[in-house]
Subunit: 163 residues, 2 copies
DNA sequence: TATTGTTATACTCTATAACTATA
DNA sequence: TATAGTTATAGAGTATAACAATA
């Protein structure tokens, strides 16, 4: 289970008032840092994600893998690891679980006997379709304070950092 | 230790070319999500943070606590927990370590016998001064692809989500 | 009765080393 | 020799329950 995610909505106040003991401290220095802000924003979206995706039994990493397989049929574990920046040992049980749930299938790789091509089953395809819609909606709700234009800008700027 | 953070710099290509086996998959759907992008960007900054702050022996949470105490002398554990959205049990050993390193001091709280006021020592103050400068530099480097104006915008938009 | 700080503990996430089977 | 996938495991990070001291 994820973080509390209270979002106590203390807008843009001049921080700690000297009179009267306050709970929230002056965090203005931390709030000038991209890293701090990116993490805090992710934490909020993350908690909404967990709530709304629980019915599907999908965590963020599960959704990422399934969505990737939906658009890259036959991708290998190694390709998933490279794309998502996770380590091979940490993908093994995840893939095994998705397999045992009947959401994906492992087929022998056409050109490489060591590799295994991963494919969505029709159940997996149906689940991803629903899950992707839920994620789009949840993202819209979590970023409701942003206009469509601002949301685009935000994503573009974030990608300038990591892409 | 943090993530690999390769930043393999595959700019804006039309994704998976059909010919020739590629390593990186088509992640265009995930790249439309604020949560995914925020996490990826944070991961990059996070790894730079770990490298550059290792000489100070400070993790991100340590730095957050020390920086908060620098600007909120006498803050309590509970206030730190509320501000940083972490749970009290997880702050205990952290504070104990900073104390045993001689960076902070625990003083009886003036108005509340249960609480403990946390204060930086002069060694702590000196360390925070250096560390804050390093963080500012590291942030500038990590977001070097952004103009000053873009960086401000990015932070403002992230705060619209979590603040 | 409620709150601050604490202990103990469990669960998840992330990381490393080492193995196997194919290339 | 190098790579794909796997096993086992260790270390962070994050969560809950329960307690003592104080309000």
């Amino acid at each position: 289970m994820p973080a509390p995610a209270k979002k106590t909505s203390t807008k843009n106040e001049p921080a700690a008032s000297a009179s009267g003991r306050s709970d929230r401290l002056d965090a203005r220095v931390l709030e000038t840092l991209v890293g701090y802000n990116a993490r805090r924003a992710w934490l909020i979206i993350s908690s909404v994600f967990s709530e709304r995706m629980a019915p599907y039994g999908l965590k963020q990493i599960d959704f990422s893998v399934l969505s990737l397989l939906a658009h890259n049929p036959g991708a290998t574990s190694r390709q998933l690891c490279t794309t998502l920046d996770i380590l091979p040992p940490n993908l093994v049980s995840l893939v095994a679980t998705l397999d045992s749930r009947g959401l994906i299938e492992r087929r022998p790789h056409p050109h490489d006997g060591r590799a295994v091509g991963l494919h969505l089953t029709s159940a997996g395809e149906a689940l991803v379709r629903d899950a992707e819609q839920t994620v789009v909606q949840l993202e819209a709700d979590a970023s409701a304070q942003l206009t469509a234009r601002e949301r685009e800008t935000l994503i573009k700027l974030l990608q300038k950092i990591y892409l």
